[in-house]
Symmetry: C2
């Protein structure tokens, strides 16, 4: 007999996991995960890094580091972020165990049970879980293909009876929606949020994974715009590029937020793994990071384009999606009232998995959408799997 | 202007850190940290492990793993714990980012703001921080040299107006007290706690680090006694032996607790680093773990014995301590009313650091004790540093 806390009552396991156990087939085609492809990891680069580590560096790798991160990585990451135009001198950097931990810590720093927070709809499931675990009252704002809906945001801000603790956003290659906010949307957003004393948490896990150089102007982060009268807590990650198995992300935040977050991190895991921090540092320092990015971008682009082309050909007209310009995901809008869980059940029977829409609805309800990941499947698997997904959709909606 | 949560208000940075910044000398002698010695890490073993990893294992190391841990490590750790007599078949294993994260997650699973929990006094600072961050009402029970004081525990259980959510204990080589619970104390404790529906969190980070084979009977964990009518959530760590830089610990808990904790972990960091999990797995699987332990135990014993001998010779009679039989720490009782923070200030001036007593008081008050770590200093540094500590004590109490 255990008496668990109230905060835990609101956490649920994800639907795919429950369903997968029902259909645990070998050779399942996985359009479900948000992970890089195993075949694309920079194994040779990491080998070369490991071989060149000195005994002293290895000792540092085996030892506790300071809570904010090991100094070499803080140094190289600061320079890396500086080159991307981020205001590293007026803010503090904290290395976290994946950027999910950065989001979780920010949730802990701001949320008391019952506090209202704002998120996009749809929203990254990890952030929803983290905010739920602190018993937030989650209010969501719809996404349009250009980014957050400014009118809906304005309306929510005007009508809410309480001041939200923060607004959580993923402006660049949204998970699950794939959306890249247009620069003009970012400017509108900044105008709307200015001087309201509602900080923004800007989740920037995907912006390096762009497919088109002409999008660079839209990719500028809110944090690097450094807007006056608006506090931005910026989070980033090594997971989608170098490898999620390192479990490394970061937050770049105002000093006052940093001091709270450092204390919270001390109480969660004391510090992130020094071992993988050392590898990430060498990856940045040795200059292999950008060449590696240049190598993988076209690979993900190829997959996205093939998935887009197949969906364009095969999807019924009552379904729609915005072709992704970067990131890992395609987000399909199904006809009103469609239940993507039923489609998922059919798809699993056929040997292919994706994630149902309600997983990403902050309110766990709306299910007429679904997410396909193109990141973790070969060209052959995409060619084989997409017709099966479309078949499952057609069976359900006809 | 930020509006932080109430839970964050109760978190404080540690005193040593504040003081260290005042006296940031090179060559400071560190009796403060709870980390293994850099010189003792198994670097050659880890090199050999890395060299033998296959490309597929390296891919697994770079990728997300399942939230409970990568299957190879879950397998090898299960066998390792089975050999230690732990009830691995009736419980579930969850790999965590250090055992602090296991303790934090258990805190989250059980504590609602204002809930009462029981801990020892003194108590591991990481656990205090974690429980405070969930706004627990912390009630503490004194430790004796034989373990938790059974009469005080009985009295607390009899007089508390509410049922505590759990009792958190470190029975083997306590941090900071160094205490090894006597087997008879463990039996008394089990008798006292039976059928009360108050789970025990048993923190077992140090039990491998014993100095005397004849203590093995006392080292049996509560969890492996598998007492009827008492639920035990067991936590362990790779940090004190293989290396804290890997950030790996675990919990072995009843299924019902596991299911909640897995969801919480999903919302904190999704999974622990696969990269270091792979190394820990190979360390266990290849059989180098026990030989390595046998190599380091006498080294820590030598340091403990020297520190004990010097303190026996030099400490004023009004101070006392129990010679450690394992672990990393010596805990000194100073005369009534002594302020160990003043002693610490003097010691820093002389070039040596330890941790003041109130750091480990769950109520942040009692300061007539101090902790010395012998784990991270060479024989020479111990010989040099202990006279400086004693000098600082003498100056303060005379």
């Amino acid at each position: 007999m255990f008496h668990f806390s109230n905060s835990v009552a609101s956490l649920r396991s994800s639907e795919i996991r429950d369903l997968m156990s029902l259909a645990n087939k070998p050779n399942m085609i996985l359009f479900s995960g948000g992970m890089p492809d195993n075949e694309l990891f920079p194994l040779q680069e990491v080998d070369a890094i490991y071989m060149r580590l000195t005994a002293r560096e290895k000792q540092m790798a085996m030892q506790y580091g300071p809570t904010p991160g090991i100094p070499p990585l803080l140094g190289s990451l600061t320079e890396f972020l500086r080159e991307k135009g981020l205001p590293v001198d007026d803010n503090k950097l904290l290395i976290t165990t994946g950027s999910l931990q950065a989001i979780n810590i920010l949730g802990h720093a701001f949320i008391d049970p019952g506090d209202t927070i704002l998120v996009e709809n749809p929203c990254f499931i990890g952030a929803i879980s983290a905010f739920r675990s602190y018993q937030a009252n989650i209010v969501s704002i719809p996404l349009t293909p250009e980014g957050i809906d400014p009118e809906a945001l304005q309306h929510t801000l005007d009508t809410l009876q309480v001041k939200p603790k923060f607004l959580y956003l993923t402006p660049n290659f949204h998970n699950p929606a794939g959306t890249l906010y247009q620069h003009s949307t970012k400017l509108k957003l900044i105008g709307l949020m200015r001087d309201r004393e509602i900080p923004i948490i800007e989740d920037d896990a995907y912006s390096e994974l762009y497919f088109h150089d002409e999008d660079i102007e839209h990719l500028q982060t809110l944090k690097s715009m450094n807007p006056e009268g608006l506090d931005i807590c910026y989070t980033g990650s090594f997971s989608k590029i170098l490898g999620p198995g390192l479990r490394l992300g970061w937050m770049l935040v105002p000093d006052e937020v940093y001091r709270k977050c450092e204390l919270i991190k001390q109480s969660i895991d004391a510090c992130s793994p020094s071992f993988t921090q050392m590898i990430a540092h060498k990856f940045l320092e040795s200059g292999v990071y950008l060449p590696y990015l240049k190598r993988i971008r076209p690979e993900y682009k190829r997959r996205a384009e093939l998935m887009t082309q197949l969906l364009d050909e095969l999807l019924p007209e009552s379904c729609s999606f915005t072709p992704p310009r970067g990131g890992f995901y395609i987000w399909i809008q199904l006809p009103d009232g469609t239940d993507s869980t039923s489609i998922l059940r059919r798809a699993i029977e056929k040997g292919v998995v994706f994630v149902s829409g309600k997983t990403f609805d902050p309110h766990g309800q709306r299910n007429d959408r679904l997410r396909l990941s193109f990141c973790n499947s070969s060209i052959e698997k995409i060619r084989e799997g997409i017709p099966l997904v479309v078949e499952s959709i057609r069976e359900e909606i006809l």
